[in-house]
C-alpha cells in the first residue's frame, strides 16, 4: 500500500511528464532521425546512397529551388490552387449537406453510412476506379455524355480539366468529413436562439446565416484546418490518376518531391524541397490557427 500510494503521488505531481512524455518520446524517436537527416541532406548532393558519402553543396540546392526551378514554381501554384479550391468546395458542400440532413427522417442511419463511404474507402483503390471512369474510351462517363447527346470529353487527358477533376475527386472523398463534423456540431447545439429568431420573424436562410452558423463555426474551422493540412499533402489520388500529368499540370509539390527522390534519384535536392514544403505547410497552418483564435 505504501509503495503504491507513493508512486501515485509521484505520478500526480508529474502528470504531464508521465502521461504525455511517452508519446512525445515515441514520436520524437521515430521522427528525429528522419527530420534531422533530411535537413542535413538538404545541404548536400547525394548520389549513390550508403556506398558514397554525400557531397556538401551549402545553400546550392535552395538557391536552385528559388531561382532556376520552374517546375517548383508550377508545383507551388498547383498545390495552392488545388488545396484552396478543394477545401473551399468541401467546406461549402459539407456544411450545406449537414444542414440539409439535420432533421429527423426514417433512413437517417443508412444515409449517414452512405455519406461516410468515400472517406473510408482506400484512396488508392478508389483512385483507380475513378481513373477507369474517366477513361475516354473505356469509361462510363463519356458513354453517359454520348447517350445524352453531348460531346465526349478527354477528362484527365485534357490539360485544362485535369487539375479540376483531381479537385473533384478530392472533394468527393473528403466532403463527408466536413459534413459529419458539422452535423455533429449542429446536433449538439441548443435550439433556443434559433427558435427565438424565428419568432422574431427571421426566415430559414436568415436563421441559418445569422444564428446557427456563428455558433457552429468554431467546429467547422477546426475541421477545415485539419483538412487543410492533409490536403496540402494530397498524394495517393494524384499519383494514381495522373502522376502529375498531362505535362505537369497536376503536379503538386508532394508529387514533384516524390519524383525527384525516386525517379531522378536526387536525394539531396528532394530533401531541400521537403524542408521548403514543411515550412510552407507550417506557415499556412499556424496562420489559419491564429485566425481561428482571433475570431474566437
Amino acid at each position: 500500500m505504501g509503495i503504491i500510494s507513493r508512486v501515485s503521488r509521484f505520478t500526480d505531481r508529474h502528470v504531464l511528464s508521465i502521461y504525455v512524455g511517452p508519446s512525445l518520446v515515441l514520436l520524437g524517436l521515430v521522427m528525429a532521425f528522419p527530420v534531422v537527416f533530411t535537413v542535413y541532406l538538404s545541404f548536400h548532393q547525394w548520389i549513390g546512397g550508403a556506398l558514397k558519402a554525400p557531397e556538401f553543396v551549402g545553400l546550392d540546392n535552395y538557391a536552385r529551388i528559388f531561382t532556376e526551378d520552374e517546375r517548383f514554381r508550377g508545383a507551388i501554384i498547383n498545390t495552392i490552387a488545388l488545396t484552396a479550391g478543394s477545401v473551399a468546395a468541401q467546406t461549402v458542400l459539407g456544411v450545406a449537406l449537414a444542414v440539409f440532413i439535420h432533421r429527423e427522417f426514417a433512413i437517417r442511419g443508412i444515409v449517414r453510412s452512405i455519406i461516410l463511404l468515400p472517406m473510408i474507402a482506400t484512396p488508392v483503390a478508389i483512385a483507380l476506379i475513378w481513373r477507369l471512369m474517366f477513361h475516354p474510351q473505356l469509361g462510363a462517363l463519356n458513354d453517359l455524355l454520348e447517350r445524352l447527346g453531348l460531346a465526349p470529353s478527354d477528362w484527365l487527358a485534357d490539360p485544362k480539366l485535369a487539375l479540376l477533376l483531381v479537385g473533384v475527386v478530392d472533394t468527393w472523398e473528403w466532403t463527408p468529413l466536413i459534413a459529419l463534423i458539422t452535423l455533429a456540431g449542429l446536433t449538439a447545439l441548443p435550439h433556443d436562439p434559433s427558435e427565438a429568431a424565428s419568432i422574431d420573424g427571421a426566415n430559414a436562410w436568415q436563421r441559418f446565416w445569422y444564428v446557427t452558423l456563428p455558433m457552429v463555426r468554431p467546429i467547422i474551422v477546426v475541421a477545415v484546418v485539419f483538412r487543410l493540412i492533409e490536403a496540402l499533402k494530397t498524394f495517393d489520388i494524384i499519383l494514381i490518376m495522373t502522376n502529375g500529368g498531362p505535362g505537369f499540370v497536376t503536379e503538386t509539390l508532394n508529387i514533384y518531391i516524390y519524383n525527384t527522390a525516386f525517379q531522378y534519384q536526387k536525394i539531396g535536392y528532394s530533401s531541400a524541397l521537403l524542408v521548403v514544403f514543411f515550412v510552407l505547410v507550417l506557415l499556412l497552418s499556424t496562420s489559419m490557427l491564429s485566425l481561428r483564435r482571433s475570431r474566437g
Partner: protein, 283 residues
C-alpha cells in the same frame, strides 16, 4: 365549417407530402454521386473479360465471379489482409496505450501547446520518412517485419488518437473528477476507473478511425514492407502487369480491400460521427 377544415387539412397533408417527396428526391440526387463510384467498382469487378476489353462501356453484362477468383488465386490476398489487420490492430493498440493518457493530460492539465506539437507531426510529409526509416530499419534488421510497419504507422495513428480524444476528455464534467479526487483517488485511478469508462464511445470512435487510416495507408507499405508483410493497398497493383491492365481484377481487389472498412462503417457510423464531433467541438 367541417368541410373547410377538412380541405385545409388536406392541403396541408399534400403540401407536407410534396415537401417530403422533394426532400427525398433531393436526398437521392445527392446520394447518387456518393454511391455511384462504389456501384461502378462492384459492377466492374463482376464483369467478364470480354466486357472490359470492348472499346466502349457496357452497362449490361453477364456477371461472373472470375475476377474474384483471380484475386485470391494469383495473389496472396489472404496474407495481405492478415498483414493489414495485424499492423492496423498493432498500431492502434499502441496508439491507445500511449495516446489515451497523453490526450487526458493535455485536455485536463492545461497543455494545449503540447497538443499542437503532436498535431504538427502530421505536417511533415510522409516522404520525409521513407528513406531514413528504411536505413534505420535495415541496420537493426527490421525490414520485412511487422514491428517496423507498426512503428511507422504509429506516425499516423498516434497523433490522430490524441487529437480526437482531447475533445472527449475535455467534455468530461469536472464534478465527476473532483468528486473522485475528494474521495482520495489519485489521478491515475480517476483516469482508469472514472474517465475511461465515461468516454468509451469516443475511444471506440477514435480507434476505428485510426484503424481505417492505417488500413488505407499506401506509401510506407511499398517501401518498408517485404514479401511477408505486404499490406492490402499494394495488392491492387499486382494486376497492372506488362501483359494488360486487368481492370476486372483490379476492381475485385479494390472491392475486397474496401469491404471490411465499409462493413465496419455501417455498423459504427454513429460512433464515428461522435468521434469526429468530439474532436472538433472542443478541438
Amino acid at each position: 365549417m367541417a368541410k373547410q377544415i377538412t380541405l385545409r387539412t388536406k392541403k396541408k397533408i399534400v403540401r407536407k407530402a410534396l415537401r417530403a417527396t422533394g426532400f427525398y428526391a433531393l436526398l437521392g440526387a445527392i446520394l447518387v454521386p456518393f454511391a455511384f463510384v462504389f456501384w461502378y467498382m462492384i459492377s466492374t469487378s463482376l464483369k467478364p473479360a470480354e466486357a472490359l476489353i470492348s472499346s466502349t462501356f457496357r452497362w449490361t453484362f453477364e456477371p461472373t465471379l472470375d475476377n474474384y477468383r483471380q484475386v485470391f488465386e494469383q495473389t496472396e490476398f489472404s496474407s495481405f489482409m492478415f498483414n493489414s489487420l495485424l499492423v492496423g490492430f498493432g498500431s492502434v493498440a499502441m496508439s491507445l496505450v500511449f495516446g489515451l493518457p497523453a490526450a487526458f493530460a493535455i485536455a485536463r492539465f492545461n497543455a494545449p501547446r503540447l497538443g499542437v506539437i503532436i498535431l504538427s507531426s502530421r505536417v511533415t510529409p510522409g516522404i520525409t520518412f521513407l528513406i531514413p526509416l528504411f536505413i534505420i530499419f535495415s541496420r537493426i534488421g527490421w525490414i520485412d517485419t511487422y514491428q517496423a510497419l507498426i512503428v511507422a504507422h504509429l506516425l499516423i495513428t498516434l497523433p490522430m488518437v490524441i487529437w480526437l480524444m482531447i475533445g472527449f476528455f475535455e467534455d468530461v464534467p469536472q464534478e465527476m473528477i473532483d468528486s473522485a479526487r475528494v474521495d482520495g483517488a489519485s489521478i491515475t485511478v480517476t483516469f482508469l476507473q472514472i474517465v475511461l469508462p465515461m468516454t468509451k464511445g469516443g475511444i471506440a470512435a477514435s480507434a476505428i478511425l485510426a484503424f481505417i487510416f492505417s488500413w488505407n495507408h499506401f506509401m510506407f507499405s511499398v517501401v518498408l514492407a517485404g514479401r511477408h508483410t505486404r499490406t492490402l493497398p499494394v495488392a491492387v497493383f499486382e494486376f497492372m502487369a506488362y501483359g494488360q491492365i486487368n481492370w476486372g481484377a483490379i476492381a475485385a481487389a479494390a472491392t475486397v480491400m474496401t469491404l471490411p472498412v465499409i462493413v465496419i462503417a455501417l455498423f459504427v457510423q454513429r460512433h464515428i460521427v461522435e468521434g469526429l464531433a468530439g474532436g472538433a467541438v472542443k478541438g
